[in-house]
Symmetry: C2
Subunit: 301 residues, 2 copies
């Protein structure tokens, strides 16, 4: 990993953490009646957990590329991270993936209880839209509305939540290749695409820039999932000393399970070439986003 990129990723993560910490204070905001101590604690547990903040990074860097005010980008980055963290809290629930640990800490429903975890997820989801609508940094009313709409569609029934539904249903419906691609574009791709497309929207950049960054986001979203599936395969291979696949064992359909690791590595290379090619017109200004594409694709090594 490039030193400058690594430093920037750490700096941006700290900025996001700091912003989220302030947004999750005990003090109620104008229009709120009170913030229950236990609910705030559960939300903080689910958010302030030392994540890499990759999605916030993409928002901030894609916004910086078009000269957006950093404070405005940071708000949108924090809103997106609230959505990402809510989805992890709900996905970890016993009725979903039933996970006890996340980043070495008890998941929210283990540290608190299931009801509190459901409410913490609901409240983070709601807060995301609050953060954008109540931004007073630099966003125009038009940008705020576009972002609320984009974020709702990226995360709702036609985006992330819908992708999770397809994923839960996959054991029963056994999706074909097109079905797997759709599932992944929704479940993980939609938020990553949003992160990249948000930059030009925050900056008020022209439509072609928005389209270009959205395409970039789609490519690295696909790479993100491929690298994840590959990581899953190689780590279980190492651990178990033979070529089994955790997802395949769990009955999960992935493109890696379908086509193999070599195919996946070649696909990843192609996606990085495609993604970085899309940014070529911006020259050296997009170095951080280019590095991010490489970083995302290299997670299997």
């Amino acid at each position: 990993m490039d030193d400058e990129f690594s430093t920037r990723l750490t700096t941006r993560a700290a900025e996001a953490q700091n912003c989220l910490d302030k947004l999750l204070e005990a003090q109620p905001r104008n229009g709120e009646i009170a913030r229950p101590e236990r609910l705030v604690a559960a939300m903080r547990h689910g958010v302030l957990n030392g994540g890499k903040r990759l999605r916030p990074f993409l928002v901030m860097e894609s916004a910086a590329l078009f000269g957006a005010k950093p404070a405005a980008a940071l708000r949108v980055a924090a809103a997106l991270e609230c959505i990402h963290c809510y989805s992890l809290i709900h996905d970890d629930l016993p009725a979903m993936d039933d996970d006890d640990l996340r980043r070495g800490q008890p998941t929210v429903h283990r540290a608190f209880d299931e009801a509190t975890a459901i409410l913490a997820g609901d409240s983070l989801l709601t807060l995301a839209f609050d953060i954008i609508a109540n931004d007073d940094t630099a966003l125009s009313a038009k940008a705020k509305l576009t972002l609320v709409s984009m974020l709702a569609r990226a995360s709702g029934l036609g985006g992330m939540a819908g992708g999770q539904m397809y994923d839960l249903d996959a054991a029963r419906t056994a999706p074909d290749e097109a079905g797997i691609i759709r599932l992944q574009a929704m479940k993980t791709g939609a938020l990553i695409r949003f992160a990249c497309e948000a930059g030009p929207v925050i900056a008020g950049a022209p439509e072609p820039d928005r389209e270009r960054l959205a395409e970039f986001g789609s490519a690295i979203g696909l790479a993100f999932q491929l690298a994840d599936d590959l990581l899953d395969l190689t780590s279980s291979t190492e651990k178990m000393g033979k070529a089994t696949d955790k997802d395949a064992a769990a009955g999960k359909a992935t493109l890696v399970a379908l086509h193999g690791a070599d195919w996946a590595r070649s696909q990843l290379k192609g996606l990085v070439t495609q993604a970085t090619g899309l940014l070529a017109p911006y020259g050296s200004a997009c170095a951080m986003l280019t590095q991010a594409a490489h970083f995302i694709a290299a997670r299997d090594s």
Copy 2:
């Protein structure tokens, strides 16, 4: 119940149902990838269930009082109902109230499964903000942003979701009278207040009208909860032939349990007088809202 009011309530409910039916179509919207069949079915099950649509009624009537375009009011009414229905789906979950039936039908997690019910609630919550941000009827950008912000604060950690947290915690914390009032203002009051305050915002009415309608909403929200608690008390008395109280038996603190039914009936009268008094400046134009206040308070009879 006044005949004109009764007819209007039915008409408005049909309008809301029709609007929600269209919003919950299988066809993905611009920016969505696909809508999973099972998720759409679960959302429809949780929403298109023949509710009275009291909150949509309040939005539409408070908007009409200030001359707002009916189509714009209907969108906001539908968004609010999505929030209300998401909260019912999540509250019914085994980890929360564990209810099998709602309006004589299986609850969403019984008709589908828990994971699907969690996702259906999440998706309805998300859709609510989508509906407002993507309105193309008559709302100004300023009104949309104000409504997104108001709705987020009424329904999030400092509003409805926070109230549910306090309610779940009540058995442990045994809230005093002030605590019960706060809990109820958040859990049920905040959305009813939003419904009434939304009208002048949709219409772009002056600030004093907005404040007046918000106060009206607070008063009838309080009345709504009192009538509910009273209904609970009287219906269990009738059913069981003695003065037991379901909520009290469940360890739930209510003002009715604290002060008795006579006190509650007298409070209800006072709240209706206060609420209708607030609307007096609008003369006969506010007949439907005045009737709604009486209707809400009379639910124990």
